[in-house]
Structures are given as C-alpha cells and as structure tokens.
C-alpha cells in the first residue's frame, strides 16, 4: 500500500457526441480494493471501459504507475491489467481450458504456442480459485457462478497487477456472491492484486472495499472509505429511495437497510 497505481486526471467519458462523465479525477493506491457504485446509467461501465481503452476518452489523462496509459502498447497493458467483463451470450462452445489459455495470449509471440511455464501458471491459478473440477467441462455446461469463476481465473492467469471487474456477481445467488468476493478479497490481500470492481450491491461494496467511488449525475459524488461516504443522505439522494444506515456489528462497516413504502 502507499504507491499510486492508477491516477485519473480530469477524465471525460462518452460515446461520440454523448458525454456520460465529466471531470473524473481520482487516485488509487497499490493493493487497494476499490468499488465503483452508482445508479443505473451513471456511467460505471463507461468509466471502466474508458480506463481499459475499450472506448476512447473524450478528454483527460490516465496514468498507470506514473506512466501515461496511452503510451502503453495494447499488449503491454494486457500484461499488467486484466478485465472480467459482464457475462454475455456466447454462441460457440468453448471448453474451459480454451478460455483459460487465453489468459496467456498477451505473453505469447505469434508463432509460439504455450510453453511449460504458461501451462504451470494456468495450473497454479486453477488451484488458487479452486476450479479443478470444472477444467474438463465446456462453458455452456456450467452455471453462471461457475462460469464467473472460470473468467476470473482466466484474468488471474494474466498475472495482472490490477484487476477490473464489471458487476462480477450480477445474476448470482447470495452464496456465490460471497464466495466470489471472499476470493477477490483473498487475492487482494494475500496475492497483492489491486482490484477495481463495479458493484450494484451497496452492502457488498461496503463490506469488502477499501474505498468507494460513487458516480452520480455525470461526476464523482463521493470518494472515500465506506464509513465516510455511505450515509443515508447521499444514498437517498442518488437512488431516490428511503434508507437507514447502521453499523454491521461484526464487520463494523456501514450496512444499508432499505425501507419499503408501507413503512415510511
């Protein structure tokens, strides 16, 4: 902890004419677990994709380890940063092994195939995430939760310094949600992988993240520790609902209670 890993300066993101976010500036330290939250359409995914250079920034600069990200070649960036996107419909039948091998692509020259070193890394990460029993299956045979584990493993196979996830637990039941976030937390604390994750579940974000970036109305509403930023006024403002925020007795982190209309 301590060193600045990611530095975003006055970033504007959008698609062509449409500006989704303006004036985004924040810094992330090495070893942090950052959460990005906000209402639907706030631009969470857009921010992620802009940092990852999937869509071009409209304005501003991004620095990865003090180096301008636009100066990185795509391959070099892929060797440092990995991304687990939201799951989409897949039309072809992929085996789990095929997916996992993709994690080594940024390290392989065009004419070479996977060397022993690469295969060892793959095996190592399989053990790390505990998906040994899934390795001989095809993707479509797995449940959403299992698939997500596969994609996270693939991202780890890239041996990144920074891992981005876009709503990793959407569509998952609470058991899988916890399982995945426990895994991410372990990777963050034990394996020293910095993580930025977009989340929709405020409580999940609160329990696991070191700091939260709250996006609202095209800009950063708040940025800081969950205790600092998750107060009922902020939440009620950006989600337009009624909540009560109390402290979780075990984790000591804020816990958001939603209040149904009949009780208001």
């Amino acid at each position: 902890m301590g060193r600045i890993l990611l530095n975003v300066e006055d970033l504007s993101c959008g698609y062509g004419e449409k500006v989704v976010l303006k004036g985004i500036s924040f810094q992330m330290e090495e070893g942090e677990f950052l959460g990005i939250i906000g209402p639907n359409g706030a631009g969470k995914s857009t921010l992620l994709k802009t940092i990852l250079r999937i869509i071009p920034p409209l304005k501003g600069r991004i620095f990865f380890r003090d180096k301008d990200i636009s100066k990185f070649s795509r391959i070099m960036l892929a060797q440092e940063i990995a991304y687990v996107p939201q799951q989409t419909q897949v039309w072809f039948s992929f085996s789990v092994m095929e997916i996992l091998k993709m994690g080594r692509y940024p390290f392989l020259r065009r004419y070479k195939s996977e060397a022993k070193k690469d295969l060892d890394i793959i095996q190592e990460k399989i053990k790390l995430t505990g998906i040994e029993n899934l390795v001989y299956s095809n993707l479509e045979e797995l449940s959403w939760g299992e698939r997500q584990m596969v994609f996270i493993t693939r991202a780890l196979i890239q041996e990144p310094k920074l891992l981005f996830l876009d709503e990793p637990t959407a569509h998952l039941d609470v058991g899988h949600e916890i399982k995945i976030f426990d895994l991410l937390y372990r990777l963050n604390r034990q394996n020293n992988i910095s993580i930025i994750s977009v989340l929709h579940d405020l409580n999940l974000a609160s329990q696991y993240c070191d700091r939260l970036l709250i996006l609202f109305d095209g800009r950063i509403e708040k940025f800081g520790k969950p205790e600092e930023v998750l107060d009922y006024r902020t939440i009620e403002k950006i989600y337009d609902t009624v909540v009560i925020v109390k402290e979780n007795p075990i984790t000591k982190r804020p816990y958001v209670f939603t209040i149904p209309e009949k009780f208001r």
């Binding site: 250079r53 419909q89 072809f92 692509y105």
Partner: protein, 328 residues
C-alpha cells in the same frame, strides 16, 4: 500429461485429414464419365489428357472447398454468429453482378472471372465503408450492411438478367449452381496460390480469432488490436470468397457447415479449426464433385445442387444438436 497429448491429438487430426484429401485427389480421377485405367494414363494420350483434366478439376474443387470453409470460419468468428457463411457480406452478389456484366459486354472470355472478382471486391469495400462508425467496424453493422448490399446487388442482377435475357440465360446457370468444370485454364494456379496464402495468413490470426469469437471486449483486454484485426481478416476472407465465386460460381453450404463439423473435433481452437476446415472443405467438395459427375453420367449435376442436398440435411442435424447452445 493431458496437455501434451492434446497437441498430439491435434496433429493427428490434421494429419489424417491431409491423408484423406491427398488420397481423394489422387484417386478420384479414376471416376468419371469416361472409363480410364491406370495403365492407360501413361500410354494412351487420350486417357492421360482426361485424367489430367479431372485432376485439375479435383484440385480446383479441393481449393475452393477449402477456401470457402476458411472464409466461413473467419466470418463466424468475427460476426460471432454460427449461421454466418462466406456469402453473408454480399461478396457473392457482387461477384454475380460482375460476371453478368462481363457476359453482356462480351469480349475476352477471361473477363468473366476477373469482373466477378472485381464485383466481389466492390461489395466488400462498400460494406466496410457503410459499416464504419468512428473508425470501428461493429459486427452488427457489418452484418446489416452485408445483407443490404447483397440484396441491392442481387436486385440489380435480376434486373439485368431480365433485360438482357437472351445473352445471359445459360451463363446465369453457371453462377447460380456452381461449376467446377471450368474452361479457363490459367486460373488454377491463381486459385491454388490464393487458397494456400489465404489459409496460411488466417492461421496466423488463430489466437485473435479464438478470442474474437468470445467477445470484442475480451479481445481488447487481452491486448488484441481488434479493429485492425477485424479489418484484415474481413479482407482476407472476402478475398478468398471472391476468388472462389468468380471462378466457380456459388457453391453453397460448404462455408456454413464445414466449420461446425470440424468444431466437433477441434472445439473452437482456431489453430486446428482453420487447417481442419480447409482440409475438410476440400474433402467435402471433391467427394461431392465425384458424385456430381458420375451419378447421371454423362450428364453432370451442378455441384451446388449436391452440396445443398448433402449440406442441407446436415445443417438441420447440426441445428438439432446445437439447439441447447444457440437458443439458451
């Protein structure tokens, strides 16, 4: 230990296909309208000529089958659509239009393949231009533009055929149903060259194709220059399709079915899928052609009819098996 034999299995698979294709190429020449025997090839002039004629046609068929299959693989990956075939971006319509224009203007008979080829290139150029958004080529745009350009060119084609029907009636049969008994001789070398080069270059992009068929965002995050890769691959695939169409007309189903058949063995790994499809496509067309020229001998069945008759039901069977994946 399981990983090493996967590689070996891959080589074995490709090796077997190679052997089958070579065997077919060497020995299909003995079937045909006119009976010939091995002895006579070396002694009797006429038999030798006929054997070589058949050999040329068989090799042409193998190449075209291979090229269409590889193009099918590429389009299916880039468009992330298992129903894509080489003609989906309008290359065939452009080719047909070019061929028909050449037929009208008469002149040297070599004009037809050349014009057909140019027509195919025009199609793909238009499709790429229309699909561009901010310097990117979204697959949905490619698909839509391809269909639109295809329809437009086909309609122009239909109009021309209606208008000039006296000169075109027979020539259109060639284009619509496919023809491997090609009269122009000098084209075979070009086809072989383009076929091998095209497949080779596609093979170089095997990893990119692996990831692209999963998703573009995945590809970008793995360091792939997606837009450049798409552009290059679309051109390669369109080029080899245009050449196939301009020489042999429309041979359907090959580019659609063969990639799926090979996937049964190779999965989605394009390092196997591409060479496998090239070889399997060649095998399929050579067998179909042998059938086409022997079943009603001496009458020839158009090759497109055979590939449709075999390919159609195969496609339905495939669709049944894959229902789970496609319609989940």
């Amino acid at each position: 230990m399981g990983k090493i034999s996967i590689k070996k299995k891959g080589f074995l698979f490709i090796g077997i296909l190679c052997l089958i294709l070579i065997f077919l190429i060497l020995f299909s020449g003995f079937w045909g309208t006119v009976p010939i025997s091995v002895k006579n090839i070396f002694s009797m002039d006429r038999d030798r000529i006929i054997f070589i004629l058949r050999l040329k046609r068989i090799i042409l068929g193998a190449m075209v089958g291979g090229m269409l299959s590889v193009a099918g693989v590429i389009f299916q990956a880039i468009l992330r659509n298992p129903l894509a075939d080489p003609y989906i971006l309008g290359v065939s319509s452009g080719g047909g239009l070019g061929a028909v224009l050449a037929l009208i203007w008469g002149g040297s008979f070599l004009k037809i393949p050349v014009f057909a080829f140019l027509g195919g290139l025009l199609s793909i150029f238009l499709v790429q231009s229309l699909s561009q958004v901010n310097g990117r080529l979204p697959p949905q745009n490619l698909l839509l533009s391809g269909v639109v350009i295809g329809i437009i060119f086909t309609n122009i084609l239909v109009f021309i055929v209606w208008f000039f029907e006296d000169r075109l009636i027979h020539g259109i049969i060639w284009w619509l149903l496919g023809n491997l008994d090609v009269i122009e001789n000098n084209l075979l070398l070009t086809v072989i060259l383009m076929g091998i080069l095209g497949t080779f270059f596609s093979f170089l992009f095997a990893r990119e194709l692996n990831v692209l068929s999963l998703g573009e965002e995945e590809a970008i995050s793995l360091g792939i220059d997606v837009e450049k890769t798409k552009r290059v691959l679309v051109y390669i695939a369109s080029l080899i399709t245009a050449i196939a169409v301009s020489v042999c007309g429309i041979i359907g189903f090959v580019g659609l079915i063969i990639p799926h058949i090979v996937r049964f063995f190779s999965g989605n790994e394009h390092r196997l899928l591409i060479p496998g499809s090239f070889l399997m496509g060649g095998i399929f067309v050579v067998i179909s052609d042998t059938f086409a020229r022997t079943f009603f001998s001496p009458v020839e069945i158009p090759i497109g009819v055979i590939t449709a008759l075999i390919g159609g039901p195969m496609f339905l069977i495939l669709l049944q098996k894959k229902k789970k994946i496609l319609f989940k």
